[in-house]
């Protein structure tokens, strides 16, 4: 039939090899442009080249790295590789692709994987390892991870006793965005316990406002912001231990603790008095994109928006994101002021080749040297690398997130849906949560998700 398109995305998925080759060409061109980037001071900083000499002479060798990080966030990445390239004479080929998460699996299964992939979910790391194409991380990387990261992080990518990927960046999800100036004008204070958060919400309602705004639309990933809410609430209404059991399916998805957490979220999101400032009724959450929802804070339509640290990038240029600015975030409080569960996420570097230059570059990426180089170059980026000097974080929200991540009293837990099997973590949990927002009851929701768990 006349140019009847079967979706371009679908075709791309099947012809993964071909399209990856095309994207590759484009990415190579993009990389050339960013060479003229202005931020050369940090990348020009000399680093100690000694850790990489033991991999032999890798001058002129090329390492390909494939990621879902695209413009503009890719620039600081490409810049941060320069000290390594200068040290060793190797070239890093950066390839960013928005549909990375499906393409990387297609490429691995088709036998055409990149040298390295920056994988944002432990679940996906597991799937990649199961293709048999992933290569365990070298000893040097393993040592770096032992030295610079909390033990839990290593566990996320240790599969059948083998360690596959060092963590790279991290984000803090347990944040609530608010307007500091509004809080000052109306005399609100940042809550330090869940009860205070509820009281604050009620106070805003009493003042004639809708405290919360929320949006969960996100293309084919619609529903994920609800999963973050639920995860945060499992950590707060139960315990981190219950959370771990839930994620690893030692307790079923429809266990009473999880229903409790859902209902706690419902207390906010499915409460017509609380939502959805300037956006509609409860159902409007399902059709509002997560990017748009929080912007209503600036318009004064709502006061609170729970979203991760990366949300700072969504406010338009000129918005002051700071403790004394137009908008800022506070830590989503625990049950009481003493417990401090933190929900977060991060990326991992997984290798598909064990050539010396690949190992050397992996070692660089897992070092404190890289973490600090990257921190100086970028804004809106943090890592849980303990070698990070927090003075290198430039903007206030990065400082806040970095402070929470590296706080010794915090109990960090990785985004649960990212660790569950794909059938749950990137399908049933999202889909059922969306149905839940538009009216489905909690019991049906958790029962349906439990049913989707692979046997």
């Amino acid at each position: 039939m006349f140019g009847q398109p079967t979706s371009p995305r679908f075709r791309a998925a099947l012809a993964g090899t071909l399209s990856a080759g095309l994207v590759f060409g484009l990415a190579a061109c993009g990389g050339g442009d960013s060479d003229s980037g202005s931020d050369t001071d940090a990348s020009a900083a000399a680093i100690d080249c000694a850790p990489y000499t033991k991999f032999g002479d890798i001058k002129g060798k090329t390492v390909t790295i494939y990621t879902g990080i695209v413009t503009p966030e890719d620039t600081p990445h490409i810049e941060s590789y320069k000290p390594f390239e200068q040290c060793t004479g190797a070239t890093i080929k950066y390839e960013g692709d928005k549909s990375f998460e499906t393409q990387v699996l297609v490429r691995a299964r088709a036998g055409n994987p990149p040298d390295l992939a920056i994988v944002p979910q432990p679940g996906l790391v597991k799937q990649l390892v199961s293709t048999g194409k992933a290569v365990a991380a070298p000893q040097e990387v393993s040592d770096n991870v032992d030295k610079f990261w909390d033990k839990a992080w290593k566990g996320y990518t240790t599969i059948d006793g083998k360690f596959y990927g060092a963590p790279l960046g991290a984000s803090v999800k347990s944040l609530v965005w608010y307007s500091p100036s509004e809080f000052k004008d109306k005399g609100y204070t940042v809550p330090t316990t869940l009860d205070e958060l509820k009281a604050l919400s009620d106070k805003i309602v009493a003042d004639g406002g809708k405290p919360w705004c929320a949006g969960i639309a996100s293309g084919d990933a619609t529903g994920w912001p609800v999963t973050d809410w639920v995860e945060d609430m499992v950590l707060r209404t139960s315990s981190p231990e219950t959370y771990d059991k839930w994620v690893s399916h030692e307790i079923p998805f429809n266990a009473p603790e999880i229903s409790t957490a859902f209902d706690a979220v419902g207390g906010y999101l499915k409460n017509d008095a609380y939502v959805n400032g300037g956006l509609g009724d409860v159902k409007s959450i399902a059709t509002t994109t997560f990017q748009d929802a929080g912007l209503k804070i600036l318009e004064g339509q709502c006061s609170l928006h729970r979203q991760a640290s990366f949300y700072a990038a969504n406010f338009e240029k000129g918005t002051k994101v700071a403790e004394d600015g137009d908008v800022f975030a506070f830590y989503l409080p625990g049950k009481d002021a003493n417990t401090k569960p933190v929900l977060g996420a991060g990326e991992f570097v997984v290798a598909f080749a064990d050539r010396p230059e690949v190992k050397a570059f992996q070692t660089y990426l897992s070092s404190d040297v890289w973490a600090n180089t990257k921190a100086k170059l970028s804004s809106g980026w943090v890592t849980a690398n303990k070698g990070l000097d927090q003075a290198n974080l430039t903007n206030p929200i990065d400082k806040l997130a970095g402070g929470i991540l590296l706080d010794p009293n915090a109990t960090f837990r990785f985004d649960g849906s990212d660790m569950m099997p794909a059938a749950v973590g990137s399908d049933a949990f999202w889909k059922q949560s969306t149905a839940w927002i538009t009216g489905q009851d909690t019991k049906t929701t958790v029962d349906n998700i439990e049913k989707a768990w692979p046997k």
Binding site: M1, F2, Q4, P5, T6, S7, P8, R9, F10, A13, L14, T102, L105, Q127, S130, G219, D220, A221, T222, G223, N276, G278, L279, G280, D281, K283, S284, A286, T287, P421, A422, A423, S426, D427, A428, K431, T434, A435, T438, A452, P454
Partner: protein, 313 residues
């Protein structure tokens, strides 16, 4: 690229060389088969093998490791979500081809030989040139919802009309099953132009003497349509109907861009992508793909047959 060109040249060289060695009457046949060989090989690698492989995979579980017989097909016809998918696909296939063809036919007749014919045709043909994804994005704005709160203004055409008529704005895309029909409208919007173009050509191909003879007999417009136009273009109508029908069965982009298959709007093509890539359930994904394949076959056969029949007459 260069390697591919060289390979192509080499293959052609070899074939031409071998073909040159045969002569005479029986030689022609051999040469014909030789020329067919590369195309057949490519079809085998690019179409037949993946097709068989998909059928094979559809009998395996999510990870593709253990044989489960027809369980995936059982799931499609028993699971509540999958039944919704089937129901929606039926809606799409029943409504889209007929409405799009009807609109195209009526439009083609109305503008035929009018003063603004080419302009009027261009107008309805334009959506054809827009990709399904772009069409989805455009219509998402048409259906966009803003709440009835304070001085919030509507930005979607449909809700603005509702407000002007004194109604309250509706969240169109989450109202089941209304939302499926709203998505179908997008497909009709695209395909009506296609139907109009083909049918207009068919109408123009009706011999002038027949029309003149009918006019002399004093036939009115309706009889002209019933007795002359429709029977003359009937084979074309069938082709258009079936072609749009096949396209509709495969609809994916519109659903994916507008609702992502949420709010009970998923269709087979979208569901099989979702199962394969989001849910990592290769078996069920393959089974849905096979089902799609099976559903398309009768339409294709009918299409080919009616084409042959019209060529024979």
């Amino acid at each position: 690229m260069l390697a591919a060109l060289l390979l192509f040249a080499a293959v052609m060289g070899v074939i031409l060389f071998i073909a040159g060695r045969f002569g005479g009457k029986r030689g022609d046949k051999v040469v014909a088969y030789l020329y067919l060989l590369p195309a057949v090989l490519m079809l085998a690698v690019g179409l037949v093998y993946p097709g068989l492989r998909t059928i094979y995979q559809s009998f395996f579980d999510a990870a593709g490791s253990s044989f489960i017989g027809f369980d995936n097909y059982g799931t499609i016809f028993s699971d509540k979500d999958q039944l919704t998918v089937l129901r929606n696909t039926v809606f799409w296939v029943v409504v889209t081809p007929f409405v799009a063809t009807a609109i195209g036919l009526v439009y083609a007749i109305l503008v035929d030989k009018s003063r603004f014919e080419s302009f009027a045709k261009a107008l309805i043909f334009l959506p054809m040139s827009i990709s399904f994804v772009a069409a989805g994005v455009i219509w998402k704005f048409v259906y966009e919802y803003r709440p009835d709160q304070g001085n919030v203004k509507q930005i979607g055409l449909v809700n603005q009309l509702i407000v002007w008529l004194g109604g309250k704005p509706v969240q169109l895309l989450i109202e089941t099953p209304l939302n499926t029909f709203l998505l179908i409208i997008v497909m009709i919007w695209i395909q009506a132009g296609f139907a109009m173009t083909i049918l207009s050509a068919a109408i123009k191909a009706i011999p002038d003497d027949i029309i003149e003879a009918a006019r002399l007999d004093g036939v009115n417009a309706w009889s002209m349509f019933r007795k002359i136009t429709l029977p003359s273009v009937q084979p074309t109508v069938v082709v258009v109907l079936t072609t749009i029908g096949i396209g509709t069965l495969k609809v994916f982009d519109i659903v994916r861009t507008m609702t992502g298959g949420n709010f009970e709007t998923s269709v087979i093509a979208n569901e099989f992508y979702r199962q394969t890539f989001n849910a990592d359930n290769q078996g069920l994904g393959a089974a849905l793909a096979v089902l799609l394949f099976v559903l398309v076959i009768p339409i294709v056969i009918y299409n080919v047959r009616s084409l042959r029949r019209s060529e024979a007459s």
